[in-house]
């Protein structure tokens, strides 16, 4: 079952003001690098609820959704 997990994110602002997440820190403290950002769109999370700017990112060779919900970031975690 999916669960909403708020995570710490390290991000850069480009000169144009574009926000690019670089790493996420998982609940156990492990830091994962965001290798690529494939897509960015405003979307709702159908699995865990809530909505925001959804980044489709590649982490550890896998595609994942990372949401920016106002000033916080969350991912769709599994329990």
């Amino acid at each position: 079952m999916a669960q909403k997990v708020y995570v710490k994110v390290n991000a850069d602002f480009s000169e144009e003001g574009e926000l690019r997440p670089k790493t996420i820190t998982w609940v156990d403290g492990r830091i994962y690098e965001i290798v690529r950002i494939l897509h960015k769109v405003r979307a709702a999370s159908t699995k865990v609820g809530g909505c925001g700017i959804r980044y489709t990112v590649v982490i550890d060779g896998k595609e994942r959704f990372l949401f920016r919900e106002e000033d916080r970031w969350f991912v769709e975690g599994r329990t």
């Binding site: 709702a44 699995k47 809530g50 909505c51």
Partner: protein
């Protein structure tokens, strides 16, 4: 006149949908958003389709709802979330037109006549909006597309959820004339009862009813109803930044426990008048009259009004008049459950006032100066940073920490 393209977008079961969207575990269960029982607001405010299938109705008590559906999941309202999603949905609408007029928190009219060359016809825009709201916000919206506001609203009610209904000048007779008259905006409950007495049950019968009969019985509103039924509504969709002129400013509350004495009533009136006065000042208005509504513990209610000799926007003055109205009229037959104070007969604050030999101008200037200072302190440090001493211990006043200004149904403006 060019045929207009008007949409009416209605978010389905708005409060309940937001709760289910935020908490997916609720989606498969019967859900109702209910007021807090401990604050004596224990009624159903909204329900999802599963709860509706059990017969749960908006406005009924929590106990009745629980009786109909024992597994009903009741959640308290989260108005800040509803405000947030209402704003986000409006932002989507604003991508298609600046003519977005709210009708409550979950309904909006959009005039897209000037945008069809960019985004496609009304039906295309309606479907785009419907898809976007679902994808971006996880909510569903029903959209009515028509050539006037009345029919667009009717269309959004015809197919739910997540649907588009088009009512055109060519098909409206077939599509809506068979519907009950009370489904049309502008035909209220009592008008509908009265229409039925004359054998007018459907919108089509209203459209073809005798003008003299309607005029005699309902006055100008009778003729308006007939025009609406014939698709001749010319009211405009107002721009999103338009504010309808303020006609009255009111504030009311249901007490946590009933009131039994005047000593309890007086500070309550002051607290309500304080809020009214502050909003009057922020709207740059003064009141020439005051209205007081009381609801007894058997739910019966009364309202009285009084004209003021001098326009006012001062809490103490307004409260004084309201309390005097209360003392003159309320016979204390029953304890009080709820109360509302309303400033009426509003006029602009800068209208020159006739001086009176009996009014102390110096005192008035001092009161206005105090009011301005209080407003400034509240704007910087919050609503409760400064309060009248008499209202400091109001333990019977329901908590108002979620006070939110809602845009309630607006008036209708007619095209010039």
């Amino acid at each position: 006149m060019e045929t207009r393209t008007i949409l009416h977008a209605d978010l389905n079961n708005f409060y309940a949908s937001v709760e289910c969207m935020l908490n997916p575990e609720l989606r498969s269960k019967p859900v109702a958003v209910c007021g807090r029982v401990e604050e004596r607001h224990g009624i159903v405010l909204a329900k999802n389709y599963i709860a509706k299938a059990y017969g749960v109705k908006t406005g009924e008590s929590v106990l009745e709802a629980r009786f109909k559906c024992p597994d009903l999941v009741m959640v308290p309202p989260h108005y800040r979330e509803y405000m947030k999603y209402s704003r986000l949905v409006r932002e989507i609408y604003m991508d298609y037109t600046d003519l977005v007029e709210p009708y409550g928190m979950d309904e909006n009219w959009l005039d897209v006549t000037g945008s069809t060359h960019l985004f496609g016809d009304g039906e295309t825009i309606a479907n785009t909006i419907r898809e976007r709201v679902k994808f971006e916000l996880g909510l569903t919206v029903s959209v009515g597309v028509s050539f006037n506001k009345i029919f667009a609203k009717l269309g959004s009610d015809m197919k739910k959820p997540d649907a588009v209904t088009c009512i055109t000048p060519e098909n409206f007779c077939n599509k809506i004339w068979g519907l009950p008259a009370e489904e049309m905006l502008g035909v209220g409950r009592s008008a509908s009862r009265e229409l039925k007495r004359f054998g007018i049950h459907t919108i089509g019968q209203l459209a073809q009813a005798d003008e003299r009969l309607l005029s005699l019985r309902f006055g100008i509103n009778g003729l308006r109803m007939k025009q609406f039924a014939n698709g001749e509504d010319t009211s405009k969709v107002m721009p999103s930044d338009y504010h309808f002129p303020v006609k009255s400013v009111g504030n009311g509350t249901t007490f946590l426990t009933d009131l039994h004495t005047e000593a309890e009533v007086k500070p309550m009136i002051l607290a309500l008048a304080d809020n009214v006065a502050a909003r009057l000042r922020s709207a740059h208005k003064k009141a020439r009259g005051i209205a007081l509504m009381v609801r007894c513990n058997d739910l019966s209610w009364r309202e009285w009004q009084e004209k003021l000799d001098h326009p006012s926007q001062n809490a103490g003055e307004l409260a004084g008049h309201a309390f005097a109205v209360f003392q003159q009229n309320y016979p204390w037959v029953k304890p009080l459950r709820a109360m509302a104070v309303r400033a009426i007969r509003l006029e602009d604050e800068d209208v020159t006032e006739q001086l009176s030999i009996f009014r102390d101008g110096e005192c008035l200037r001092k009161m206005e100066s105090v009011d301005r200072t209080v407003d400034e302190i509240r704007s910087r440090f919050g609503q409760y940073a400064i309060r009248s001493a008499a209202t400091m211990r109001l333990d019977k006043l329901a908590k108002t920490d979620e006070e939110i200004e809602l845009t309630m149904p607006s008036g209708m403006l007619t095209l010039a």
